[in-house]
Symmetry: C2
Subunit: 472 residues, 2 copies
């Protein structure tokens, strides 16, 4: 990688008083270019058109399914139709699980249907379903402390509500119950586990999401109740009633299938081997049309790359758009990408994934060599003009690029407003109407600015600092 800097005066300038700095003609030209690109991207409906096309023409696309296969074809065709220089796909072996029906009802002391969904990867109930009493816990931690005698042969209900937060900070503390609930409940002899949905809405859509088993613990069925139904069940239990549920789930494993990471590039005119990687995941859950998760990301990164080409011409470094397979079932596509491209990872100037819905971006975090952070000032200034402030230098980059920093790959996180993301996340209600075209265009502009600046400068982002925090 070249060490020469495109903007040599910036580090010095930023160390002085701002008022003492004057722009060089070069800087002014860069700022003007960024402003022109940003304006075009803000006005372009391309990202929205792409997510609309994906959700209308393909819709649900759980890894390994027919929908997933259609999504792969769709992605290749979309990149080609948009005139990407190189369009290719790389096979990924993915787990293929299907949800089947998931029914639950209270049969005593009252009679009510409960809206549930299977957690991703859950086993089915025994043929004919389960009928047994339910025991409520306010968290996974409380469950772990419980007496097995209280739980044996019962259904465990983990009733912890996710808190709303712009950055999605409510997710972590609650999602542990989704991922570990079946293991901990089974250890204590439970027949099944139901969690209150990991979601911030009040609705009857249950939120799915991947869950885990442990090889040395019995595999029990795991589902999620909608928040409204969790409220209802909680009201019965809070009133001191013995509550009996009938639960039937017909989830099923279909073995491993071949899916693909689908890749579209605009090849660098000066340093084609140097790569600016922007990504999103192509798979989705099976109940919604995957508009927010992650159709929005697909639209944003695809739109950003195409608009750079349209407005600014061929980039100097390669801009590579990677649409990852099977993010939802454990980042399978991203792991495969990292394995396959290991020799090339040192050529990635920066990687960033869009996978947090369609809310406006409010902050940019980096994981760059400190000097590169200084050199990126024109980028930060251009981002500031569209409402994005500079954050810290401990970025995670997004789920599908989260494994890259340990190979020394610099990453960026463009943080989206996730205030309402978890109202829809992993539900049947993740559909196109939740995408605000204006906010999506702002995302497209931010990714365009990032990718263009990184591709058309000679900025050296390495060595990226060690990642010491869990910030994403």
């Amino acid at each position: 990688m070249k060490a020469a800097l495109f903007y040599p005066t910036l580090a010095l300038c930023s160390a002085l008083l701002l008022s003492a700095c004057t722009s060089t003609p070069q800087q002014s030209a860069v700022s003007a270019d960024l402003a022109r690109l940003s304006d075009s991207a803000l006005k372009s409906e391309l990202a929205y058109d792409v997510v609309k096309s994906l959700t209308v023409e393909v819709g649900p696309r759980i890894a390994g399914s027919e929908g997933d296969k259609r999504a792969v074809v769709w992605a290749e065709e979309k990149f080609k139709a948009l005139g990407f220089d190189k369009v290719y796909k790389e096979p990924v072996r993915v787990r293929n699980w299907s949800r089947g029906i998931a029914d639950a009802k209270v049969i005593a002391p009252y009679q009510q249907k409960l809206f549930i969904t299977a957690l991703g990867g859950s086993v089915a109930t025994p043929e004919g379903g389960l009928i047994t009493q339910v025991v409520m816990f306010d968290s996974l931690a409380s469950l772990k402390k419980a007496d097995a005698a209280q739980i044996h042969d019962k259904i465990v209900f983990i009733n912890q509500r996710m808190q709303r937060d712009r950055a999605g900070k409510g997710y972590g503390p609650v999602v542990i119950g989704r991922s570990q609930g079946a293991i901990e409940a089974a250890k204590l002899g439970a027949k099944a586990v139901l969690i209150r949905s990991v979601g911030t809405d009040n609705s009857r859509f249950a939120h799915t999401g991947v869950m885990q088993y442990s090889d040395d613990v019995e595999k029990i069925p795991a589902g999620a109740l909608s928040n409204a139904d969790a409220d209802n069940l909680q009201a019965m239990l809070d009133a001191g009633k013995d509550v009996t549920l009938a639960v039937e789930m017909r989830a099923k494993e279909h073995g491993w299938q071949t899916s693909y990471n689908v890749i579209g590039e605009f090849t660098g005119s000066e340093s084609p081997e140097e790569i600016v990687l922007i990504g999103a995941h192509l798979d989705s859950w099976d109940e919604g049309t995957g508009a927010l998760d992650d159709g929005a990301g697909v639209g944003i990164v695809t739109g950003a790359a195409k608009i750079i080409k349209n407005v600014m011409g061929q980039p100097k470094r390669t801009i590579r758009v990677v649409l990852y397979a099977s993010e939802e079932f454990g980042l399978t596509g991203a792991q495969e990408y990292t394995r396959k491209h290991k020799a090339e990872l040192s050529n990635i100037i920066v990687a960033a994934e869009s996978d947090f819905g369609a809310g406006e971006i409010y902050q940019i975090d980096t994981l760059f060599a400190p000097a590169a952070v200084e050199q990126a000032k024109p980028l930060f200034e251009a981002l500031a003009n569209i409402g994005v402030t500079q954050g810290h230098n401990q970025a995670g980059g997004g789920p599908d690029v989260s494994m890259l920093p340990k190979y020394g790959v610099p990453v960026v996180s463009l943080l989206q407003d996730g205030t309402y993301y978890f109202d829809y996340h992993h539900t049947a209600n993740d559909t196109l109407d939740k995408v605000d075209p204006k906010a999506l265009a702002q995302n497209q502009a931010a990714y365009a600015l990032l990718a263009y600046f990184m591709a058309n400068s000679e900025i050296d982002t390495r060595p990226a600092p060690a990642k010491t925090t869990n910030s994403h």
Copy 2:
């Protein structure tokens, strides 16, 4: 009915400049009583406890179902537990229809599941379902003008969006497509009709609601698409595609069943034969728990009556709470009540029903003799203190009392803020979490003020003016 007035000076006073009016000691006492009652009702959680009890312990209660029968038992027990003087029920023969499954999917040019629900009273599809092309219209009016050749053997899609409005004014123009769509589509040879849900949300909950057939037109299946799914289908059709749907609905009629209007009274201490009637409907649709429609109304009128008794003691006139059967299938309980009580209708001082969710009340309309409107000034003043302004004198009174004005019965409408009501109305998502306890208590206070004032004055509301507008 007695003609003497309890507040003889009010009419005169209101005709003068306000500043020239001074309160009589009697007026001050009345105002103080109303303020005390209002404060207690605002603080009481009774209405909320009642709707919570109904939704948790009974839940869905479509007319004639097991849930409906449980609701009748629940209502009698609730009135008794609250110490109503008289608790009784009156049989009503109700139609019993069940929804069954309702599946729809696009099978060409794409493959996507669509979320639908049957409209109330729809017939089933033929065994095995229907597979045919869909034709879109932007309204019932457009459908009526269409060429039969364009529609023959196809599925008609009426794609008209309901507009959000505080007073629910968006409902009328759209609901005509729900009620008449199957008749008009069948006249032109359609196999089925699907409407965009009559609802203001963007979600995948489809909105049900009663629909009609005509004896001389073939009965075809009728369903509603969720707004999100209507968007998706519209996007395909807008792109000029021929779209083929597979639709299966297993709705079924189960003949007529006996349900009940359930009635609780506090008997008037001075004029027990004079009745202040406040009502709500006990039935609900089958997918939600009927919290907004009309559990909230049940809670409001039950709570209001009980709080009057608790705070002010026995009313002078009888306060009668009527929980009507089968409102949803054509006001069946209300029609039966009116028939059975015809001789007694002249003793109803005023009737009012709460059936528009749980939003705050912002306006009171009356249908009173003009002199009585003047005499009700202390009521209007007390209502103004809780945010309720005086409206017009052409009230409709609410669905289940809407047939009473033609028998000369004076009615009141306490208009609720319905801005969000049609986000949930007639969907699975009509659950307790949509009820704001504070707004519900304000409703309870308004009904308590109304019922107490009307029961403890000698106000003569007759003759009510002719009803010349369609305002409800």
